[in-house]
């Protein structure tokens, strides 16, 4: 590991808290200042992130960089160890970008009951938690950050959420707590076991490195049980079928910002945990659990898709599609091959961008029409062409169209699951070809269903003539924003003038994408295209790390 600029990561992680400290002294009434400071902080954080990327040694992407370790809680052998490698880098930076964009979006979209100060503070805390989770190199530290994320999100949903928010937020909280409790137990168990096996128990500590070296030595049955604990902890977060039922409620009830962060980053904590902790620490158990994970993942794919087909609410549909997509990610992980895990990591980022985008759109649609009932939304393309086309673009990306980011999460996962870890003289044995190949075919069916529900959604919301209740509200506001659309993804599609809708009803008119939305969305749209066209950008970074990681299984 490379120990350069050890301050960098700590700065990146804790900078938001500085912003919070500042904001505490700003009166609640002075909203614009509050927002300004918050956005500024987020921007600064992102700047640090970008500087990190610049300083990052791309040729050594496989090994930890900016690595630093200090005493932290000596009695329990917990250390403050952080580092960054190719696997964490994309997610680390993504979390910063998403936070900034969400804040920009929130500038004029603070959900009721207002109080931007608290709202922005929560988002900054959230940011610290997320970034910290991705750089932590010590189990206790990881756990702390992992939990730090939980609380702000709970309040976000519980305070700023929809009418059923209490139920949703509490469900989310209990679920995740339940998971993390088991997780913590298994962490400690793992520590104790490795400590007792070790040559000199005093050397034992919670740093990842220690478990990397000693985890594989744990007796198989013990390992399986410990893994079980971690499995539930992470699976709830992912969420994997059947631990997913908190997701639709949380997403539907959460404010737009909450949904976006939830989809883009929080879900990734679980999968990241699998890749970074569960699998490398306990390879012997991982091989045993892989089939279970794979089966659940594929069930999730099909099941999430079917769930989508049954939805009547746009946001809930998107939420269910998350279950399906994360299913692909988990399928990739369960193959325990380089290809699969690469696909999974790519899938995480892609899903973050795309589903985040979809939730943004859902939020804006809700704000304009005050409903997400698919039945009532028709002819969106006529009333707000740009919004409609962006929705179409995101839907296409989400159903895994090659040339857009989504594809590189799905297709390699399928490739990998057809050729899972398998072969002679593997240290921990291989996986059943038959099982995984059957699963591959079922998963491929999932891609078809994905096309079905997304296009169905698109056809019913965007196409056709606007339904009577909203007719006549469209068409203006798009004159105003008519041409601020330069260079904006698929946006400039369909300036289609919706003739005949020019009359203003007495309701407020439905205006097309406004400038805050443009600023918040453009980066996502561009990223989706760029990563889709040049996947190497990402694969190049994550591949070395993953190759290191699967060496232990002896597969390719």
């Amino acid at each position: 590991m490379i120990q350069n600029q050890q301050w960098l990561l700590s700065l990146g992680v804790f900078l938001p808290l500085v912003g919070v400290a500042v904001m505490l002294f700003i009166p609640k009434s002075d909203e614009s200042t509050v927002k300004g400071v918050a956005v500024l902080t987020a921007a600064a954080t992102l700047a640090v992130g970008i500087y990190t990327m610049v300083q990052f040694d791309w040729d050594k992407a496989g090994s930890l960089q900016f690595f630093t370790t200090n005493k932290w809680i000596t009695p329990i052998k917990a250390t403050y160890t952080i580092g960054l490698d190719g696997i964490s880098l994309p997610l680390y930076v993504l979390s910063m970008i998403i936070t900034l964009l969400v804040m920009i979006y929130s500038w004029d979209h603070v959900p009721s009951p207002g109080n931007p100060k608290a709202f922005f503070i929560l988002m900054l805390v959230l940011q610290t938690g997320m970034a910290g989770t991705f750089v932590a190199q010590d189990l206790i530290l990881f756990f702390v950050f992992f939990e730090v994320v939980l609380l702000p999100m709970y309040f976000m949903i519980g305070v700023w959420g929809g009418e059923n928010r209490q139920y949703a937020s509490l469900k989310f909280f209990l679920y995740t707590m339940f998971g993390s409790a088991l997780m913590l137990v298994s962490f400690i168990a793992l520590f104790v076991v490795t400590k007792n096996n070790a040559a000199d128990p005093d050397a034992a500590n919670f740093s990842f490195q220690w478990f990397m070296e000693n985890g594989a030595g744990v007796a198989k049955n013990t390992a399986i049980w410990i893994f079980a604990g971690m499995f539930i902890g992470f699976a709830v977060k992912v969420p994997m079928f059947p631990f997913h039922t908190w997701l639709p409620d949380a997403h539907t009830q959460a404010p737009t910002q909450g949904s976006v962060i939830l989809a883009a980053i929080l879900l990734k904590l679980g999968t990241y945990g699998f890749v970074r902790i569960a699998i490398p620490f306990l390879p012997q158990a991982a091989v045993k659990w892989a089939p279970v994970i794979a089966v659940l993942a594929v069930i999730g794919i099909i099941y999430g898709a079917l769930g989508c087909l049954a939805q009547t609410d746009m946001k809930r549909l998107i939420a269910f599609s998350s279950v399906a997509h994360m299913g692909f990610v988990m399928l990739g992980i369960s193959t325990l091959t380089t290809l699969g895990i690469n696909a999974a990591l790519f899938g995480m980022v892609a899903h973050g961008l795309i589903t985040g985008m979809l939730f943004f759109i859902a939020g804006s649609v809700k704000e304009r029409y005050h409903t997400l009932e698919i039945k009532r939304l028709r002819g969106m393309l006529l009333q707000m062409p740009k919004m409609g086309w962006i929705l179409g673009f995101s839907a296409m990306a989400s159903l895994g169209l090659p040339g857009l980011a989504g594809f590189w999460g799905e297709f390699p996962a399928l490739l990998a699951s057809w050729n899972p870890l398998n072969g002679a003289d593997l240290p921990f044995g291989g996986l059943s070809l038959t099982l995984f190949r059957v699963l591959t075919i079922i998963a491929a069916l999932g891609t078809v269903l994905a096309a079905a529900y997304l296009l169905w959604l698109y056809q019913r919301t965007a196409f056709g003539e606007p339904s009577a209740e909203f007719a006549g509200l469209g068409a203006d506001g798009h004159a105003a924003h008519g041409h601020d659309a330069h260079g904006h993804g698929a946006a400039d599609h369909g300036d289609a003038d919706s003739d005949g809708h020019a009359d203003h009803g007495d309701h407020e008119p439905i205006h097309d994408v406004n400038k805050f939305e443009w600023v918040a969305w453009t980066p996502l749209l561009i990223a989706i295209v760029v990563f889709g066209v040049v996947p190497q950008l990402m694969f190049k970074v994550i591949d070395p790390g993953v190759t290191e990681l699967v060496k232990v299984f002896g597969g390719k």
Binding site: K171, Y175, L306, T338, P402, G403, T440, A444, Q459
Partner: protein
Amino acid sequence: MFAEEAAGEAAHAAAGWFLEHAWLIPVIPAVAFFLIIFFGKKMPKGGSEIGILSMVASLVIAAGTAYQWIDWSHHSEEPIIKSITWWQSGGLKFGIGQHIDGLAVMALLLVSFISTLVQIYSTEYVRGDRRYTHFFASLTLFSAGMLSMVLAPNMVQFILGWEIMGLCSFMLIGHWWEEEANSKAALKAFFTVRTGDMGLLVGTAMLLAIFGTLDIGGEGGINSLVANGEFDSKNMLMWAAIALFIACIGKSGQFPLHTWLPDAMAGPTPVSSLLHSSTMVVAGVFLVARLYPVFHTGLDINIAGQHFNFVAVIGGITILIAAALAFVQNDIKKVLAYSTVSQLGYMMMGLGVGAWMPAVFHIFTHAFFKCCLFLCAGSIAHTGSHHSFDMKTDMGGLRKKMPITFWTWIVSTLALCGVPFFSGFFSKDEIIDSAKHNHYTVFGIIGLIGAFMTAAYMTRATYLTFFGKARGGAAHFVDGHEDHSHDAAADEVHHDIDGLDTHLHPVHAAHDDHGHGDIQHGKPLPFAPSDSPWQITVPLIILGVLAIFSGYLNAAPFKWHYFEHWLESSMGLPFGEEPGMIPEPPTFSWVAAAPSIILVALGITLSWLISKKVFGEEKNGLQGLTQRNALLGAGHKFLVNKYYLDALYEGVIVKAIAHPIANAAYWVNQHVLDGIVNAVGIGGRRTGEWVYRNVDQRVVDGAVNGSGATARGAGGVLQPVQSGKVSMYGALLFGAAAVGALVLVLVNS
């Protein structure tokens, strides 16, 4: 293709600029797509000029490539492969770039040429459309997709192009999405093709498993590996081939996934012509041709020492069923659509029976005349029949009024029917010929029957469109009282023959007058039918000419085999008699060709006479036969309903998945899985309340109050949701226990 390294290197050194830079061909339109989207609106011609320019540029480069390839192919068989790493994983590297060989060059030239013409045509056809710019953007992206697929060096890029086309077909077919029928058709097209694509994805995964690479050509590419038999299990190869072939069936509208094609006619006519002539539907055939060794070896079924190829079977079936369907269509575009399907059947059959060269050549010739036919149909609708495609109600007697359209149509029809010395003859006849020659006698006969039917239904369509008396839209401004009588006659006929399908056709003939109001045509309606402006007629003429002469590139009767020379290196398999090889093509003899010629002539005359009787003015016994004769009526109905396959797909399968199953899954989610959570919640509340009452209130003071309150709150929240059914919770309890046990058993075993 198997020349040793040194030769390969030397060859590469010699390759000309165009050959080295062929990858520009798809890149240009791709860039143009973005330009059109962002700046198209500001352009004087709404972005169409960008599209056309890009296509012309591609065409020029393609032409250059073709030129250089021609002399290249004289002294080398090496394809020119260049690629840069697109993405990597572990040891694997997947490239994006170009794989230039005869087949690719042919397709590149074809696609860029046809696209250029179609775009020129469209400038007039969709003028004033409310989404003019997007139309050209989609067209351009569409061509880009096809082009990038055509020169894909590996399967991944192939999939890229393939799927982009799928997307564009969605956008183009649903171009007039204000009408639900159109958006439904678009959805159907995308969805059907996507179902096939499952096969493509899985098949590609299989290929990776078998060969450890996804490169198509060159040293160590899939083709050469198969040809040299360097793979483990023939069985796996067969499965891979089957999976890929499913994709081809979906894309090329082969039986039984052909049902989306006619509905795809909801799109503007230029789209149909592009889709059906050189892109989209050809992609499936192209995949088979491109990975020929895989399909030829993989799908080679061996029954009692009798080798035959599954591809041929599907192809054969498709020829007949599609041709039969073409008879009962009133929508001129649907007639052409089905004729495309059956022609694709010919190509598939050709590939199946080992006639690679004729099949590919048929792709080539077919593109021109089919594109021409569609454009004619469009031209008729545009200025002839007042935007209707219904031959029965709105056409007839247009021969005099639109001479150019008429003559180009006639030429292309003759080419399609395979009349000697028109391009279709040289390709189609050779397919039939080699089918017989390669011991696929049955399929040879199928081919002959197909030729007969083709001739017949095309004659019917021609008669209905151009002969007889003008009806409906075509009859405007013919002076008043006659007009009426004809309309009446026409209606009578219509009801006689097709009283059935008026209510059987769910989606009626798509009318192309959406979007652009009639005023924008510059002439007030109703107008007298007349030939279209030059943007339409010029492409027609060019294509018409090619419909005659393109065939002479490979005219067996005259021993002209240029096409063969340029392409044979792409075949991937050597000539020979063993199973792994392709049998030598037969030598042409007029005797062998005679049957098909006779049948075609027969078909034309018969059908002409019948049509004259059935659709002509004077009443006679043949009219309304389908009503009077129950058997015929049933057959007619059966055909009109496309063998009820649609009913099966939509009524049964889609409905089943979309509603009951999905809802069932959702119900389980809401009640069973959620139930567990809620049950836990109740437990939480009970404990919470207990703690609250006993510990909290009595022992500790307010400090702990919060937690208890929260716990109670939890219960309070979960309260309304829970069902209160004792036995349900019991079921969940036992079920959960069983599942948990199962997981542990699995893990520990």
